[in-house]
């Protein structure tokens, strides 16, 4: 073994982003190489730009002190969502490139080689699931849930920071694969034997394995943290059946994470053993069993679908009841439906591989179980519609997404019931029909839900509303763009077009791929609108400010607090007496009371570098494993163990916020609130809205 192998493993010049271009012979290979190189340049330039800006503005210190090492659930939540947004931008652009390829690939050709195309759909899927949807929903739950249950923080604030570190490490590893190529071509589900060492010896599948494993470990820990928080940190009087519905869906999501992430860790771990140590668990030869992977992966993969959708359902509960000025219709039914979905989600995984040769009876059982999930979901849809019925409905930006969701999600669910029938599934399995179906669930369901949640709670996090005009534009473009991009895929699927096709010779498919391309372009525009919205809102933040904290006439406890919320959330631990605790106060003309026994010193967890250190070491370990740089792997794993042991010796984990500071903040806020007008719902989107709401339900009475 020479010095290069020891120092750099198998990392050499062939990994550099211009390598594909250097070897290119045909026109297609040249264009494909340019596309790959441009992506690498954009990634590096983006990172450099951010680094320069931080240096220029001398922000490295504040970034480290106030954010990266923070264990405040609100800041961690925001960092999760920033990560999700960055990754969303990349994955949407990749989707655009794929749509372009399928539009140009009629009759062969196009802009990317089959191998490059394989990397595109693999990173697109991996990123969207693990590094967009998961961090977004984790961030949103992190930010909102502790506030809604009247808690100061999650149960394990440091663990929260470690989870974020691990998730971010996985995301960065995927970004690194843009520069030191290649990524896996095995799709987001990474099925062996294709990803086995015998067929795919390169670094690609290893990038996938370690990125996904890091994210999976982070999510398992997050699930534990959220579950314990909801069971143990609720304020006095906040019985389970008084929790806002968002907390219920968070609880079910967290429980799903605890049980569904380990199967993924086992699947990727065993695949790694096959690849690194010559095991025969999933191999074709040597007594392995490929079906084991499918079972393990989807034992994770199906509950994962509900991990993605339940938090969005939680957001929809809040959106429909807040913007209808009414309590939720059928709270108990919604709780039960959520639990039903969570339980059923573990009973349907075989429907992902109906065609893999198990018995008809087994397929029938799993098909029926799959269809059964439609029932609790249907209950929810009716409850949301009945929540709006005779309410004080305002078509705000989240409601536009919400109404779009109601229509589109039902359509997507219907195609799900169609796919649940094994005999139909045999016909459309692995076609674009399936691709259309699951995008129809996760875009109007999860993604619209996340954007609606972002719009709803943004003022709570930063103290000003988002610009409505650009919000409506983005929402419209998302809905129309989605329809154009994905409904043609249903038709293409029924016409027999397989998924993941780089080129085809069937002229009848071309018109529909062109329509889908148009849709993808609109979605890119929608994303740009969201970016513009953020910039415009930031510029006009004085006009959009809602410092009193209740811009939407909210019902749950987080709206009772100033915006942005102080680090300690609540000046004193609360006692609540019913559901929609804040709304009850407002109906009596009250607000959150001064602490009955006066202000007291508050003990808050100190910032810690353990989270970012474990994250960075996890990233380096993943990188070392991917490129077989063993010393780097050993060093970084040692760092992780050492960090954990060292932390166990730390005793000064908390700091005290003096009562005087808490009281001063409180008084300043109350003075501001008393000086701000109480706003009726017709003025909700006007400058007069400083976040002091007059309850919609009392508007009629006066």
């Amino acid at each position: 073994m020479n010095a290069h192998d020891i120092l750099l493993g198998r990392l050499d010049a062939t990994a550099l982003p211009w390598h594909e271009l250097l070897l290119a012979d045909t026109r297609l290979e040249v264009i494909s190489g340019i596309v790959g190189l441009s992506a690498a340049i954009i990634a590096v330039a983006g990172a450099l730009l951010v680094a320069t800006a931080l240096t220029w503005r001398r922000l490295w210190g504040p970034l480290w002190r106030d954010w990266l090492t923070s264990v405040d659930h609100k800041k961690i939540g925001i960092m999760y969502m920033v990560l999700a947004c960055v990754m969303l931008a990349r994955a949407v652009v990749e989707a655009g490139v794929m749509r372009l390829q399928q539009a140009l690939g009629s009759g062969g050709g196009g802009i990317v080689t089959p191998d490059h195309f394989g990397q595109l759909f693999s990173t697109h899927g991996t990123i969207m699931i693990f590094f967009v949807a998961m961090p977004f929903l984790t961030g949103l739950i992190n930010f909102v849930m502790p506030l809604q249950i009247g808690a100061r923080d999650v149960s394990f604030p440091l663990l929260n920071s470690v989870s974020l570190g691990l998730t971010a490490a996985g995301a960065v590893l995927v970004m690194v694969s843009l520069v030191l190529q290649p990524f896996s071509t095995g799709g987001w589900s990474g099925y062996p034997p294709f990803t086995d060492a015998s067929f795919n010896p390169g670094a690609g599948p290893d990038y996938w394995i370690w990125a996904v494993t890091l994210s999976s470990l982070g999510s398992t820990l997050t699930g534990i943290n959220f579950t314990v928080t909801i069971y143990k940190e609720r304020c006095e009087g906040m019985h389970m059946m008084r929790m806002p519905m968002f907390c219920w869906t968070s609880l079910c999501t967290a429980i799903l994470m605890i049980f569904a992430m380990p199967p993924l860790t086992v699947a990727t771990g065993l695949l790694a053993l096959d690849r690194y140590l010559g095991f025969h668990i999933f191999t074709n030869d040597g007594g392995g069993n490929v079906m084991m992977f499918a079972n393990l992966f989807w034992l994770f993969g199906h509950p994962e679908v509900y991990i993605l959708i339940l938090p969005a359902f939680g957001v929809w509960n809040e959106v429909f009841s807040t913007f209808s000025g009414k309590g939720l219709f059928g709270y108990r039914a919604l709780v039960m439906a959520t639990m039903c979905i969570a339980v059923l989600s573990f009973t349907v995984w075989v429907h992902h591989f109906f065609t893999m040769g198990q018995s008809t009876e087994l397929n029938a059982i799993f098909g029926i179980a799959t269809m059964a999930i439609g029932i609790p979901t249907g209950v929810k849809i009716y409850d949301w519609m009945l929540t709006m019925y005779r309410g004080r409905v305002r078509i705000t930006v989240p409601m536009v997404y919400g109404v779009g969701f109601l229509f589109l999600f039902v359509l997507g669910g219907t195609t799900g019931v169609i796919l649940a029938n094994p005999s139909i599934d045999y016909q459309v399995h692995n076609t674009l029909f399936l691709v259309a179906h699951f995008h129809n669930m996760v875009i109007p369901g999860t993604l619209f839900g996340m954007i609606a949640g972002y719009t709803l709670w943004f003022p709570k996090a930063f103290g000003f509303r988002l610009n409505d005009c650009w919000g409506y534009r983005a929402a419209g473009l998302w809905i129309v763009g989605f329809l154009l991009a994905f409904f043609p895929l249903y038709i293409l699927g029924l016409m027999g077009m397989p998924r993941r096709m780089v080129a085809y010779f069937e002229g009848a498919w071309l018109p529909w791929t062109l329509v889908a391309l148009t849709g993808a372009a609109l979605i890119v525009l929608a994303l740009l609108c969201l970016a513009v919205q953020l910039v415009v809102s930031l510029r006009n933040r004085a006009e959009l400010a809602v410092p009193v904290g209740d811009p939407w006439d909210g019902r749950s406890l987080e709206w009772a607090l100033p915006a942005p919320v102080p680090e300690w959330n609540f000046p004193a631990l609360l006692v609540v007496e019913g559901r929609d605790a804040f709304m009850e106060l407002k109906m009596k003309g009250d607000h959150l009371d001064r602490p009955r026994d006066g202000f007291i010193d508050i003990s808050m967890p100190r910032p810690s570098c353990v989270g970012p250190v474990v994250g960075a070491a996890g990233l380096i370990a993943g990188f070392g494993l991917t490129w077989h740089i063993w010393w780097l792997t050993v060093v970084s794993l040692t760092v992780i163990v050492a960090a954990m042991v060292a932390r166990s010796f730390v005793r000064e984990t908390h700091r005290t916020v003096p009562a005087a500071e808490v009281e001063a903040r409180w008084n300043a806020w109350r003075t501001l609130a008393d000086a701000s007008p109480r706003i009726r719902r017709r003025d909700e989107q006007r400058q007069a809205n400083r976040g002091h709401a007059f309850p919609a339900a009392r508007e009629g009475g006066e």
């Binding site: 069971y231 605890i258 095991f279 007594g287 069993n289 084991m292 393990l296 166990s648 010796f649 005793r651």
Partner: protein, 204 residues
Amino acid sequence: MSSRHPGLNLGEAHGAAHEAAEKEVFGFWVFMMSDAILFGLLFATYVVLQGNTNGGPGPSDLFEIPSVLIQTVLLLTSSLTAGLAQLAMKHALGTRRIVIWLLISLALALSFIALEVRDLLTMISKGGIPEASGFLSAFFALIPLHGLHVVAACLWLLALLGQIARYGLDDAVKTGMLRLGILWHFLDIVWIGIFTIVYVGGLA
């Protein structure tokens, strides 16, 4: 309310440590549940691949029940002594006694690891390597993972001993001991599964 979480409680006499244990120990139980899923799936993988010896050595060529039985006794005894350490802590029988029980548990666990490593090396010398078959791959995915867990638990025990030396028996050490105890017993239960399903089941 005297019992704040499943398993051994410190009791009211321990004040703040007893309070803090509520969420910390509950959280650790939840973590154990996710770990149980991990082991459960590896057991399932083993059961599926058990028969796939691929013409290589099978359980009867490789397993040595006497040694495995000794390992079982060692590990289960260490669970007993770890439990005694916890009881000594709960009833405030003095730090010395706690440390002695912990050291005995550590010695037993390390002997278990030593014997296990010896057995695995013997298996490998007989051609029982993971590359040989699906059966052996599943075996080597499950058993060393349990061993690694035991090693991690030993490392944790050492860290706790260090903290006792540095800070005495403070609240953080107490809740740490409660959690380590749960992990220790959990690894015993997994081992009982391994003994029955992998070793006895393999030879049956």
